[in-house]
């Protein structure tokens, strides 16, 4: 009899040890998941630890549903301008039409346009930039307006960046997307504003490398 009781106690001890490890593991992972959305990590940890209390599993379950369908701070436009947020899904925040830049002090005599060429997994992309057009918007969505240049790739934001032309120069401004914008390999952040890329050789939108050349 004593042996059976000891065996049972051992069994319960083992299962409760497993339950403890599983709960700690789940709480840690919930902390990390919740943090990635911009919410405080302790909220995820607390939701898991709630299962240990008398309220049972229904409250954490409700919290899971709330978490899945709530607004995440990661997706707020204010966060996106920090440079590491997500591209606004569905594009409700269409940017204002490109505005003309003041003429640079040293205007260039060369008034040819530019062309951006690159290859995508689904084929090649070639974009023509007319120097007489004030500006363009680079977007991952299909071009819907005359000023939009489409780079159909999931890593390209919708919209992703803005191109401006003035006095024979070409400017590039990042609009704060997850994939990021790079000029010759250097990261361009939204707070940098428009940068002159007339002399640049390539720009990168997300994972798409585009070679810049005069048309």
């Amino acid at each position: 009899m004593g042996v059976e009781i000891a065996a049972l106690m051992g069994f319960f001890g083992l299962t409760s040890a497993f339950a403890l490890v599983a709960t700690i593991l789940a709480a840690w992972m919930a902390w990390r998941i919740v943090e990635k959305t911009g919410l405080p990590g302790w909220a995820g940890l607390g939701a898991i630890l709630l299962t240990l209390t008398g309220v049972g599993t229904i409250v954490p379950l409700v919290l899971l549903w709330v978490f899945a369908f709530m607004r995440w701070p990661r997706d707020e436009p204010g966060r996106a301008t920090l440079g590491y947020g997500a591209a606004p899904a569905g594009g409700p925040a269409r940017p204002a039409p490109p505005r003309a830049l003041a003429a640079p002090a040293a205007a260039l005599a060369d008034r040819r346009g530019w062309k951006l060429t690159g290859s995508l997994p689904g084929g090649a992309v070639a974009l023509a930039i007319d120097a007489s057009v004030v500006g363009y918007v680079l977007t991952g969505a299909p071009a819907a307006q005359p000023g939009e240049l489409s780079v159909p790739d999931p890593s390209v934001g919708r919209p992703h960046a803005r191109l401006m032309t003035a006095s024979g120069r070409l400017g590039l401004e990042d609009l704060g997307t997850a994939g990021g914008t790079f000029i010759d390999g250097a990261r361009l952040l939204p707070e940098h504003g428009p940068r002159d890329i007339s002399a640049a050789r390539s720009i990168r939108l997300g994972t798409v490398e585009l070679a810049l050349a005069r048309a």
Binding site: M29, A30, T37, L61, W65, A68, P73, L82, A178
Partner: protein, 80 residues
């Protein structure tokens, strides 16, 4: 005797069937929100189907979400 065995087998099958249906329902309650979380993170929603795996399925989904870099972007580290 044969009848008793048949009864036991029948009841056992019925119990297993109910168990399977209950498991499916519970998994569905987890899969629907997790599907949305996975797609918002940039993964395929089908990743949430791991909840159908008994016992360790939920841990697999959580581990993938917790220890990977989300393709759709994460909140900036400065906010953590």
């Amino acid at each position: 005797m044969t009848y008793v065995v048949a009864w036991i087998l029948g009841l056992g099958t019925l119990a297993l069937l109910f168990l399977a249906i209950a498991h499916l329902l519970v998994a569905l309650v987890l899969i629907i929100p997790t599907w949305r979380i996975c797609t918002r993170a940039g993964f395929s929603g089908a990743l949430s189907l791991f909840h159908l795996v008994p016992v360790i399925g939920s841990f697999i989904v959580m581990a993938v979400l917790a220890f990977s870099d989300w393709p759709a972007g994460e909140a900036s580290p400065a906010r953590r």
